[in-house]
Amino acid sequence: MRMFGRNAVFAAMLALMPQAFAQKAGGTLVWGTSQVARHFNPAVQSGYATAMVGAQLFSSPLRFDDKWNALPYLAESWSFQDDGKSLLLKLVAGATFHDGKPVTSEDVAFSIMAIKANHPFSSMLAAVERVDTPSPTVAVIRMSQPHPAILLALSPALCPILPTHIFGDGVDLKTHPRNTNPIGSGPYKLAEYKPGEHIILEKFPGFFIKDRPKFDRIIVRIFRDSNALAVAIERKDVHFVPFWSDLALLDRLAKTPGLAVSDKGGEAIGPLNWLAFNTKKKPLDDVRVRQAISYAIDREFITKKLHSGRTRIATGPIAPGTPFYSAAVDPYKADVEKANHLLDQAGLKKGAGGMRAALSVDYLPGGSEQQKNVAEYLKPQLRKIGIDVTVRTSPDFPTWAKRVSSQEFDMTMDAVFNWGDPVIGVHRTYLSSNIRPGVIWSNTQSYSNPEVDDLLARASVERDVPKRRAMYQEFQKVVVEEAPIAFINVLPYFSVYEKNLRNLPTTIWGATAPIDEMYRE
C-alpha cells in the first residue's frame, strides 16, 4: 500500500511535470509603451524606443548581466590582443538569420563598420580601423588605439548584427527601407508593424540559444496617453511596461493587486536630468553665476516633493550606479545665502525690485514632471537670488532643438543619457572639439576646458580600470565645480509588470536587451 502510495505520488508528479514545464514557455506577452520608434535598426539610431524592439530582432556579439559583466551572445568567447588594439570574437556555430541564412564573421564586420559610419555616437567605434574575418566564425576588430569602451559598444542596444545580404545593397542605411521591416538573428522576428499602433513579434524557432525565447509572441502596444496605459495594465490588457516614467500614476499602479513596480535594470542607460547653461552668454560666462544658480536649486525639494521621492539626486556628469561614478565631488547643497554672496562677488548688483539679472529657461517639450515642472520651479526659486526667470515653452522638439543647438538660449532643462561607457554618452557634452553649432546633444553649452579635454582623451584609451576611474573622478570634480551644467536628478525609469512574470529584464541594459528568458508562471 505504501509502495502504491509512493508510486501514485510519483505518477502524479510525472503527470504534472509537463504542465509545470509548459507554464514556463509559450503564450503571449503584451508589452505597453508610450514610445514610437522611427524604425527598429539600432545600428543607425540610438534611443530606447528603437533599442527595445531592435534587441529582440537582432542579436549582438555580447550581452551584459546586472553587474556590468560581459556575457557570451553571438560571440561565445572573446579576447584582447596586441596590447588591447585588437579584439578577437569567436562566434557561435549554427546561428542563422530569420530567413535561414547563416550569421558569419562577414556580417559582424559589415555591421561594425556600418555602425561606425552611421551611428550618431561617433566616439563609440571611432578607434575601430577595420574588422578582419580569418574564418566564418572568427572576427578580429582592429583598432588604432586601445578602446576600453569596445565591450559595452558590442551590446544589443548598440551593436545589432545586420545581415549583409539585406543591408549591404548599397542603399543609405539611415533611410534603408528594411529598417522598419528588418531581418536579424535575435530571439523574435517581426510579424506585423502598424506605425504608431502596434508591433507584433513572433518567436524565432531557429534562435541559436536552445529553448529560448520563452514567449511565443510579443505584442508591443503603443499608447500616447499614460492614463490609458495605466488603465490597460490595471485591466491586464497589458502585462509589462518598461521605462515607465509618469510618477503621478506610479503609486496607484504599485497598489494595484497583481501588479508590481520595480526600478531595477537599465543602469547603463544612465539618464540624467539637468539644467544646462549657455556658458558664452553673459552673465552665465562667469563661473560664479553658474555656481550661484546651482546653489539656489533645492534638489531635495525637487526629488522629494516634485518627484514624490521617486527620483535620486544627480551629483555630476556620470550617473550613479555606473562603474565610473564618483560621489567625491563638492555637491551643491541648497544655500540661497551662499548663492547671493557669489552673485555679489560676480558684480551682479541688485537693481529695481531686488533683481540682478533676467534669464530665460527653455525645456525639452514632452515630459512635464522632469522638464516643465522643474523649469517652472526655477522661476520663484531663482527670484530669491535676484534672477528674473522667464520660462520659454517650445511647442515641439524641433523648435527646442533649434534654439539650443543654435545657442539661442540662456538656460535649458534637458535629459541626456550616459549610454554605458562615458566615451559613448558622456564625453560628447564636455569635449571642446564637440562644440558644433546646429547639432543637438553636442557640447551645446560651449564649455571648454583644456584640462577636461586632456582627462577625457586619456581616459578613453586607458585600459587599467583603477587608473581610468581616477581620471573620471577628477573629470567629475572639475565639471561639477565649473558648473557648465547644474545636475538635478536621475530620470526615473520603472518597470510595471504582472507579478506572475519571471526573469524580468534587470540587466544593465534593462528592456533594451533581449527578453528571451522572461516567462509567465
Partner: protein, 325 residues
C-alpha cells in the same frame, strides 16, 4: 440634371479650395523654426554636421522655400502626397490606413449626437416647463462645458476601470485574432467609449438647437392646423414639425464636421484609437511636414465632402431650398 450640375460645380470649387489649402498649410508649417531633421537627429541621440546636411538633402530641405513649394504643389496635383520623413512610408498609405478608423468614429459620434440630441430636444420642447425639459437643459449645459479630453478620461475610468465593461483602448483586440462578424463586434465594442466621448459635446449642442427650433415650429400656423384636423400629437410632431425643426440641426452638423475632426485628435489620443487624429498628433510632435500636410489636405477634403453631403441632405429634407442658387 440639376443635382449633377450642382455637384460638378462644387467639385470644381473643391479643387481650387484644396490647392489654396495646400499652399497655405505649406507656408504656415515652413514659418515655424526647426524642421523634421531636428527631430530625427534628436531621436538618433545627436549627429555630425555632415549627417545633418545629408539628411536635409535627402528630404529636399536644402532647397529654397519657393522651390520646395513648387515641388510639393506639382506632386500633390498628381496625387502624390510624398513620404513621411518619420515613418519612412508613403503619406497616402499611412493616412489611408487610418482614415477608416476616423471616419467610423466621427460618423458614429455624429449620428449618435444628431439622433439622440434631436430626440432629447424634441422631448424637452414638447414640455418646455417640465422637469424633463430642465433636465435636458442641465445635461446639455454640462455636456457642452466639459472639455472632451476630461469627459473622455472620466468615461475611461468609469467604464474601463471602476466598472470594467468596455475596452479601454485600441480599435480591436490584437491578441484575439478575430475575423468576420466577431471582428466587427469587437470593433463595435471598442467604439462605444470614444464615440460616446466625441458625441457628448455635440449631443448637448444639438439637443439645445432641436429644442429651440421645435418650440418655434410647434407654435406655427400649419402645426395648429394639423392639430385642428385632429391628428395625433406624435404625428404632428414627428411627421409635420420635425422636418422643419431639424433643418438648423443639419446645418450646424455640417458646419461642425470640421470641429468634430479636431475633437477626434484628442479622443483618439485618450483611447489610443488608431485614426488620423492620433497620426496627426504623432506627425505634429515630430514636425513630419509631409505627413502633417497630407493629413491636413485629406481632412480638408473630408470637410468639403461633409459640407457637400450636408447641402444634399438639406435639399432632400426641404425641396424648397435651391442649393444651386
Amino acid at each position: 440634371m440639376r443635382i449633377a450640375y450642382f455637384i460638378a460645380r462644387r467639385i470644381a470649387y473643391a479643387i481650387g479650395l484644396l490647392l489654396a489649402v495646400a499652399v497655405l498649410n505649406f507656408t504656415l508649417i515652413h514659418l515655424a523654426p526647426g524642421d523634421v531633421v531636428e527631430t530625427i537627429v534628436g531621436e538618433m541621440g545627436g549627429a555630425s554636421t555632415e549627417t545633418i546636411a545629408a539628411l536635409r538633402k535627402t528630404y529636399g530641405l536644402d532647397k529654397g522655400f519657393f522651390e520646395q513649394l513648387a515641388i510639393y504643389v506639382s506632386r500633390v496635383a498628381t496625387g502624390d502626397l510624398g513620404v513621411s520623413t518619420y515613418f519612412n512610408r508613403p503619406v497616402l498609405g499611412l493616412v489611408a490606413d487610418r482614415m477608416f478608423a476616423t471616419v467610423l468614429l466621427v460618423f458614429t459620434a455624429l449620428a449618435t449626437a444628431i439622433v439622440a440630441g434631436t430626440f432629447l430636444g424634441i422631448t424637452a420642447a414638447r414640455r418646455p416647463s417640465s422637469w424633463l425639459g430642465a433636465l435636458v437643459t442641465i445635461v446639455a449645459l454640462l455636456g457642452f462645458s466639459a472639455p472632451v479630453f476630461w469627459s473622455g478620461l472620466m468615461l475611461l475610468l468609469l467604464f474601463a476601470s471602476v466598472w470594467p465593461i468596455l475596452p479601454a483602448s485600441g480599435m480591436y483586440d490584437i491578441a484575439s485574432g478575430a475575423t468576420g462578424w466577431a471582428h466587427a463586434l469587437d470593433v463595435a465594442h471598442h467604439l462605444v467609449l470614444p464615440a460616446a466621448t466625441l458625441a457628448i459635446i455635440y449631443l448637448a449642442l444639438y439637443s439645445r438647437l432641436a429644442r429651440a427650433s421645435m418650440i418655434e415650429v410647434l407654435g406655427s400656423d400649419y402645426v395648429r392646423t394639423a392639430r385642428a384636423k385632429g391628428l395625433s400629437e406624435n404625428k404632428v410632431v414627428f411627421k409635420h414639425a420635425l422636418r422643419n425643426a431639424i433643418l438648423p440641426v443639419v446645418t450646424i452638423a455640417g458646419l461642425q464636421f470640421s470641429g468634430m475632426l479636431a475633437g477626434a485628435v484628442l479622443v483618439e489620443t485618450v483611447f489610443t484609437w488608431p485614426g488620423m487624429g492620433l497620426l496627426a498628433f504623432e506627425a505634429i510632435l515630430r514636425r513630419d511636414t509631409q505627413l502633417i500636410l497630407g493629413i491636413l489636405l485629406l481632412s480638408a477634403l473630408l470637410v468639403i465632402v461633409g459640407n457637400l453631403l450636408t447641402d444634399l441632405a438639406y435639399r432632400l429634407i426641404d425641396p424648397r431650398i435651391r442649393t444651386d442658387g
